[in-house]
């Protein structure tokens, strides 16, 4: 998408980032020991911690990714909301209290509390690093997407910007600062999402989603003459070329020396050409957006209602609607989504975004991405089950969530924090449905990236709302990335250097080692964030959840609930969980596409690995523990 810089948004954005940095430096002065660096000395109030929990969890994936996925594939995006929230049940009911009683700084220490095993130290630290990295990638991708419309800068600039700011925050402060940053950000995110939802409902539904200062493009439909499968004439246009892709026909027409792409279809027996968006990249690297250079600004934001049925009548607009009426009206109407088709036209690479009229009934059901109804295969059904399993089991296994269990004084406080977090996160996830559907039908979608659905929707309702939401979203990413880098640096400096390699460091050197590790992890995250540009961030987080659930959860659950669990069983389970989930992801259809290969030729058709990797990790910890000579352990759960 082509964006112009928004100075109002830019000013607010700079002020907000400056405030966050000031906050970090302010609290940094209070951080003196390793205990205060890693876990804030256990002195954070439970309510602050609860909202900070929410702030941690409502990452770029939640705000940018879920809303974007709902806007593009409907209910399948909402599956992430359901699963992400359900995951807290595992965290609260099974893990939170027993783990709190183990009272260790990091995930590795908690797992190793009763064994003092170097194998666990090593495998758990590696697991923490890999999961954190998987979770960092979508945050960085989201950061890049965010600055594109905000600052008019390229994607990679945003990724580098977030990386540098976070490294400065983490290296200068620690958990105390990030807890308060997350508290402010979590609270603001929920309030602003509520405001945006009120705007959506007040605005209602309209066939022409025009907003103040943002008129929706009028898409044209042209009658065509077809002979022997070839378009020979199109009213007022010259036929330039025609391509067949997966049994669909796409035609390039020209008018006033500007080439535009159309999709051919049949309407009441008459062949018609429906306007599409196009990006053409010539052999010499020149890019044309809808047949014109980017500076002409002819590449539009899209997404609209094709037909609106209100109380059994077809209408052009609805006016304000209640929450349930809004959803039920969309369900009974038709939505025009834009689907991507790529092909070569001579030596030009063409990406088309063609109109795809979708019944609201299908949009409001699972199946547009994860096929479980008509046209479902065994693979697609397994993929759906696998996703739901990973989301359910992944939350409790994330290292940057676990570390917050240690930042309040007592189990009772940890529990209250978690419940407050669940309530806040649950409320937010219900709002994602409205924000996602709202973005789908209000002509705001960027066809190149779904991640900006919610902020762009805010922009349609006013630059001020957009600037505030963008600033909060940016802070969201800052906060989450900070938490993840702290967890990662803890794994390197504390678990690997100190505990595994047995290098004795004094307090000052420990903190310094943590900061150096934070810098290294941050640099790697920047590189990967640039490499994964264009992917939906929720989908990427789904992978992080799969790896976390497979690597960490069997180990934690067996440790807490099965007395015969051994150190060998735990470390073997972590290795199997990490290895199998990574292997399945790296050979998945999505990664196949990333490698430039045809996804249909991937080794398997499973995008989410948990359905295989989680049971394997469970069987491993069980069998290895049975085979190994058990040590007597006491769990003070």
């Amino acid at each position: 998408m082509i964006y112009e810089i928004s100075y109002q948004a830019l000013i607010f954005f700079v002020l907000f980032v400056a405030f966050v940095l000031w906050l970090s430096f302010y609290f940094a002065r209070k951080t003196k020991s390793a205990s205060s660096y890693y876990a804030a000395g256990g002195q954070i109030h439970w309510a602050v911690n609860g909202v900070a929990f929410a702030g941690d969890y409502l990452s770029a994936a939640s705000f940018l990714g879920i809303c974007g996925m709902i806007a593009t594939v409907g209910y399948d995006g909402f599956l992430y909301s359901i699963g992400f929230l359900a995951g807290w049940i595992v965290a609260l009911f099974l893990i939170a209290e027993p783990l709190k009683r183990l009272g260790k700084y990091t995930f590795t220490d908690a797992l190793n509390a009763n064994f003092k095993s170097r194998a666990i130290t090593l495998t758990a630290a590696i697991s923490t690093l890999i999961v954190s990295m998987f979770y960092l990638i979508p945050q960085m991708v989201g950061a890049g997407d965010l600055v594109t419309p905000l600052l008019g800068l390229p994607h990679w600039v945003g990724v580098v910007l977030v990386g540098i700011v976070v490294i400065v925050i983490v290296a200068s402060a620690g958990m105390t600062s990030t807890t308060y940053v997350q508290f402010i950000k979590g609270g603001l995110l929920i309030v602003l999402s509520t405001v945006l939802t009120v705007y959506i409902l007040k605005n209602g539904l309209s066939l022409k989603p025009n907003h103040e200062g943002q008129n929706y493009h009028e898409f044209v439909t042209i009658p065509a003459q077809v002979s022997n499968g070839k378009v020979t004439q199109a009213e007022g246009w010259q036929v330039v070329s025609q391509q067949e892709v997966k049994e669909k026909t796409y035609v390039k027409l020209s008018q006033n020396n500007v080439g535009r792409w159309f999709s051919l279809s049949d309407k009441d027996g008459q062949a018609v050409l429906t306007e599409a968006l196009s990006i053409e990249e010539g052999a010499n690297g020149t890019k044309l957006y809808n047949g014109e250079p980017a500076v002409n600004g002819k590449f539009y934001q899209v997404g609209h209602m094709n037909k609106i049925m209100l109380d059994g009548k077809e209408v052009e607009s609805t006016g304000a609607l209640s929450p349930t009426k809004y959803l039920s009206t969309v369900e009974k109407s038709e939505i025009t989504r834009f689907s991507k088709v790529s092909f070569k036209d001579g030596d030009t690479n063409v990406d088309l975004f063609v109109q795809n009229v979708t019944p609201g009934k299908n949009f409001m059901l699972p199946g547009l991405k994860y096929k479980i109804g008509k046209g479902a295969s065994v693979w697609s059904k397994m993929d759906f089950i696998s996703l739901m399993l990973a989301l359910f089991l992944g939350t409790a296994s994330l290292p940057h969530i676990l570390i917050r269990y240690y930042t309040v004084k007592s189990q009772r406080d940890a529990r209250k924090s978690t419940i407050l977090a669940i309530a806040a996160i649950g409320a937010f996830y219900v709002l994602t449905l409205f924000m996602g559907v709202g973005a789908a039908v209000n002509g705001v979608m960027d066809v190149e990236s779904s991640n900006m659905a919610a902020p762009l929707l805010a922009k349609a309702f006013g630059v001020m709302l957009f600037s505030v939401i963008s600033a909060v979203a940016f802070a969201t990413i800052l906060g989450t990335v900070s938490g993840l880098i702290i967890a990662s640096s803890g794994a390197i400096a504390h678990d690997l250097i100190e505990n595994y390699f047995k290098i004795n460091l004094d307090e000052a050197k420990k903190v310094r080692a943590g900061k150096i590790a934070a810098f290294a992890v941050g640099a790697l995250a920047i590189a990967l964030g640039i490499a994964f540009k264009g992917m939906n961030v929720s989908f990427l987080v789904g992978w992080a959840f799969s790896v976390a659930a497979s690597a960490n959860l069997p180990a934690i659950l067996f440790l807490l609930f099965w007395k015969k669990t051994t150190a060998k069983g735990i470390s073997a389970s972590i290795i199997v969980g990490v290895a199998t989930s990574l292997l399945i992801i790296l050979t998945s259809p999505t990664m196949w596409g990333r490698y430039g290969l045809d996804p249909a030729t991937a080794l398997h058709q499973l995008d989410n690995p948990a359905i295989i990797s989680f049971p394997l990790a469970v069987i491993t910890v069980w069998l290895v523990s049975l085979a190994a000579k058990p040590k007597t352990i006491v769990i003070s759960a």
Binding site: I82, A86, W88, G103, Y105, T329, V430
Partner: protein, 96 residues
């Protein structure tokens, strides 16, 4: 070398009861969560049926799972706090 606890905790006599309660609540929620997945995989059409307020079962069930999680969490906290008050003496209760 392992670090000690980040915070000092007293003996909690309610821990086993709370652990059991947690497992029971987890199983209850898992049943309903799995129900959603099973319906989706084996009886997809059921999810498209209008359930109430003009919304289909998928929307109702999905939002219901979110609300149910919050309600179970609140009930869990209430019961756990009661167990702690009943089973821990005044000196041993972990309340700061």
């Amino acid at each position: 070398m392992n670090h000690g606890p980040a915070v000092e905790l007293d003996v909690d006599h309610a821990s086993s009861k709370k652990a059991k309660l947690g497992v029971i609540f987890f199983l209850i929620y898992s049943f309903f969560y799995a129900g959603f997945v099973v319906i989706g995989v084996f009886n997809y059409e059921l999810l498209s049926q209008e359930f109430a307020l003009g919304l289909n079962l998928a929307l109702f069930y999905g939002m219901g799972l979110i609300v149910f999680a919050v309600l179970l969490g609140i009930l869990y906290n209430f019961l756990c706090s009661r167990y702690e008050d009943q089973l821990n003496t005044k000196e041993e209760v972990n309340q700061p």
